[in-house]
Symmetry: D2
Subunit: 392 residues, 4 copies
């Protein structure tokens, strides 16, 4: 008989919805060693929260997240709030002895992230970070190919995360407010691709050698609700526009611990792309490429293929061929979607909390701190016009 795993979720917007779906469905598709129970959801707006809880099947609600953290029945705190409150919530949860799974990036600032890692180190609880793209099957397969030597020495990693919703007509929602969001495209998007390059190559970024941080649109119309998911304040003023205090795009160049080169670019103004989270990795024996806009496909080039060498478009949906997570879902080429990465991660989290191994490495707070350090170094490099060494 399976153990229960009582979960409390903090946050009920986009990520709250993605996490709820994961907890709801994980037990339908995976054979879980513990039974995830949707125990409590915490948020600020009581009316909205109740509707949310009813829709998704959360048993309880609270407008004070500390209540959930203090609840003896709760095993796991799931943090789906804006970046600037991650640290406070995560540390409180760890101090209460709860396991914690936190949205990415780990925190709004490097100092916050370091405090979270310290709290994790001081606790016997387990920590996890929702770098959900690791569990897109194509990305997990990329990791496996590199880990098994399929690329050999790595020369290049080239990663972009390109969206285009941040044009001049987009109002000043919380994601454009630095005090809430911490940063713009950088923390939102570069965080994912830094993690992806680290995860797939198995290497660290040891220096940032040059960077540009840029805001194309500085003045934006005030949004109807300028508040964030939990934060709030709101504009309330009569002013028609406000100032964006985050980057629209950040690009940087760096070096990998194995001697290769890497580049990263995040933008909210890359017309034509809506969610182009993509990377290309070139090694001595082969190469890989991925674009989330075709999330069920992984590109692989095997230098050993001779006259028939070509980019292989691998449809990473084939359980019979051992593709990661495919067995849990549908027959071959019955593609997966965005939310499946979260469900897959939920399955691995449940497995780990039952003492098992995840299918591919899971980021904990300490791991996610390395990504946070790169994020931070890129900004230092951009603002101080100098390389930043991360190899200490």
């Amino acid at each position: 008989m399976t153990d229960q795993l009582n979960i409390a979720l903090i946050g009920s917007k986009f990520m709250g919805r993605a996490h709820s779906n994961a907890w709801l469905n994980v037990g339908r598709f995976f054979d879980v060693a513990r039974n995830p129970v949707m125990h409590t959801v915490a948020g600020r707006n009581e009316v909205e929260l109740r509707e949310f809880a009813e829709r998704w099947g959360w048993a309880n609600t609270t407008t004070d997240w500390r209540t959930a953290v203090a609840d003896a029945d709760v095993d796991l705190i799931d943090i789906a709030t804006p970046n600037h409150v991650h640290a406070e919530q995560a540390i409180a949860a760890l101090e209460a002895g709860k396991h914690v799974v936190c949205e990415k990036p780990l925190a709004g600032t490097l100092a916050d992230a370091e405090a979270m890692v310290a709290a994790a180190a001081a606790s016997s609880a387990k920590t996890f970070v929702w770098y959900n793209y690791r569990r897109v099957p194509a990305v997990a397969l990329a990791h496996r190919i590199v880990a098994s030597g399929g690329l050999g020495r790595i020369y290049h990693a080239r990663a972009c995360y390109l969206q285009s919703w941040g044009g001049p007509d987009t109002p000043l929602v919380w994601r454009f407010q630095g005090d809430i969001a911490g940063s713009g495209a950088h923390g939102d998007l570069n965080a994912h691709i830094i993690d992806a390059v680290r995860f797939v190559t198995g290497e660290e970024i040891v220096s940032v050698d040059g960077a540009i941080e840029h805001t194309f649109i500085t003045e934006r119309a005030l949004a109807e609700s300028t508040g964030g998911e939990i934060a709030g304040a709101g504009a309330g003023s009569g002013a028609a526009t406000g100032t964006s205090t985050v980057d629209d795009a950040v690009m940087f160049l760096g070096r990998l611990s194995g001697g290769g080169l890497a580049s990263f670019e995040a933008s909210r103004l890359a017309t034509g792309y809506h969610n182009a989270n993509r990377f290309e990795i070139h090694g001595e024996r082969g190469a890989l490429r991925f674009d989330f806009e075709r999330m069920n496909e992984l590109g692989f080039y095997d230098n050993e293929d001779g006259a028939t060498a070509g980019w292989r478009t691998i449809d990473v949906t084939r359980g019979g061929d051992g593709h990661p997570y495919a067995d849990a879902w549908w027959p071959d080429s019955h593609g997966l979607g965005y939310e499946h990465g979260f469900v897959n991660q939920a399955a691995d989290i449940v497995a780990m909390l039952a003492g098992k191994e995840p299918l591919v490495p899971m980021p904990d707070f300490a791991d996610a701190l390395n990504t946070q350090r790169v994020l931070d170094a890129a900004i230092v490099s951009a603002r101080e016009h100098r390389p930043v060494d991360l190899s200490r």
Copy 2:
């Protein structure tokens, strides 16, 4: 306050699972006018059935589907069984005054299908058929483009449904047994693309002008369980192999009611393709193409684009651009997967049972009979080496 809609599902294999997921999730993502309740699931194997019910949240189980049909609380019978039992179950359900949604193809034989349509005509209940690909957003958008005149006069429709799991090593599962499955690739796969061409073009197939029905692999190893999902019988013999009594591939040529030409091909031996459900449609003003292996994309060629004319790869995931069903799910380019088509159809079924319109036309039994007639005509043409006129 929303009305309840009590559902009973018959069948608990691949399609039973896909339908269960649809009923479970439809209310999370869509604002439903009636609340779908997973009331009863019917199947043959009691132990498996209970496990299935627990996993998916069906409140009751029964090993006699007639019990579910007779249950006064049940509003809708969902048939997810092999083709040869559709007629008996659907007719019984209609006679009991239940609404019925039936897996495709409508039936194992044309006679069965006609009896089902007659029963539907005699009933005040509503009927639906799970031609789920109509509600893949890209296919729904294709329908809209044609309906709004984007293609003009249609010259060509070219459809294939190509899989490759039917190689010589695949054993004699129920899908290779004619008495259970009715046919092989033909009813399984051609049914979908005949429906797709009819749905997207808005035209009927008025003749089959030539056809080939072929079985490449006639002898197959006996499967461990040779029985079907509900049926059974089984081989039971001590023989190591048995004879496949269905087609592995069926191809045919036909004409559309608007004067265009059409071709169809289904195969289980098209190495390299796993679920390539695809079509191309060429009209005087433009053209469309779709391949389920890239299910979030629709290809559209607009002849009016002049020097910048080219196949547009439309990422059909953008709620803000009015893409069908996109609003219910995630932000732009956070792609959908296979099961979302079923959830989208569940949403439209619930809407229709609350007196509303579906987003795009929904096939009922009468509509699905037209697809069945084409399926039948293709086999007649292949076996009798003659054209078959369907325009009467």
Copy 3:
């Protein structure tokens, strides 16, 4: 020192130009065993012919092709005229002891083609047919992969040749006049893909099991010059429109000598495609696909690739990897264009006339007759609504 090879070309329109370019450039890029000399060009319009000869470097001109055929200095007659005159010219050339290379299809009628093969058999001269796509490097590589067993038993061949220049606004040029062109899309386009399937699979088409021949646009505006390249007649009438006497599209289904199935479709009204000469071939061990609109790429799926199996997009431009004809041209991925297939074929023709082997099999008249028989059978099947057996 290299021998001379004196060539006389008949025809100076589209194909005359493509052949002239081939003879002009073959010696620049290939190390030729005989030196091709552009000796004489024959055509009807003296003024145009002189301009053509000057532009391309033909040493002599004649308005009577029989003069060229009779010229003792000429070694090779290159026929680039409409189909209905191929037989007369080729037979005369063979009777004069000349080698002959003829445009495809071999002839306008099966009877003509048979007469040409008889004349070739009676001559010691060599014959060649400009099925130029065999020498597109990607198609040549496809041939090699099949020949070396890369596909195993072949289940399916699926070929289309789709263009879209034949819309209602296109006037009645010679290609729409049956007495000159022999047929429409069928002889022009299906000829190429029948040859391609035969060449790549190494199998023959042994039956046509169903076919449709169709003319969408029956009345067309008269062209300024309604005459053909050499023929003439002309409309002369005062009528504004004339009747198209050829097909716009022909589709047919058939069987391969190895037991596989095949389908063919040619159209001039496939909006969105301009020169989509494409095929897909599925075997037990792998699959191939090609589309001339991306002529430097061959798709290959190797079933042995396990978890990393995927369609390989082979950039067939790599001399170092032994890609056919690549050495003669540029470094890797410095792609080739349409006319290079003709130059490659010219290189093989010159090689064969110097006693060497071509890189891949070259079609002679006897070989091309098999394609002609399939063309003919498709029309018989379409008009008589019956299968046609070609296996005798």
Copy 4:
């Protein structure tokens, strides 16, 4: 009657061959206002040179390029030698009153390039630079789309030129010798994409904000011939290996004069890519993308397309749609290859020397100096770890 244009070519290796082909074919496909005559070719090795001249049809040869420059009959000097000799040859030619077309990059050093521009300014002759990719029709169309306002304000340009022939097994050919080549991937490849971004956007790169210059493989086997095309010297030593003195990869970040951001990356070790000369440009109204590995295609995203917006794959081969240079070649979708860009440029050079306008802007020495300045700034930035301002 057309004027003659007597051309002397210096260099007879890869580029000498590409230029010869251009001069040979330009008059066949284009209606030229002056008749290009292949007058003289200059090189070092007399035997090889004669063979080259005979093959390509150069009337005269000389082993002293100064003879050609001094020849009163010669109108145009075409420089196809390694970068370090461009300046000497071009300046001598200009001083002799000849028009000059020079291979890219303009020179091996910025000082050389400036001297060349000064010499051009002091002469009444015309100068041209072989940035051949401008005349790939897809790139020319990209230029036109931007010039006509199709992109609006430009946010991002992202360019890579990725090859993979520089692995550890490649010997120390002249391209790895800094004194001959000037640089490695940087001058060879980044030169092209800097020019492409400048050409397509119509903007200048006004700063380099960060850069990395890297050599992955420092020791390479000595090549059989270590000499360059004209240079020579050679290693001569008995050592088995030598030191590469050029970069294998250079990446840099910069800003555009219109306020946008740009990134550039060149590598000879990008496994999987052989000639991936590509760019993506994002503006407020639309976006463009190009990859030379699919040279006949241009990607265009038009933000105005609403629900049917998608990346358009424009097959840039359609003369009837006004695609640049298409009329000169073949019917639609009869694709072009690598060398056609050179022929197209030759056509524009001839036109300009007859007083006409080129189809799209042609780079002269002054224009190419701007590209050279960016090349130089990137190296300064990489070596001195600082931004470089180019906006003066």
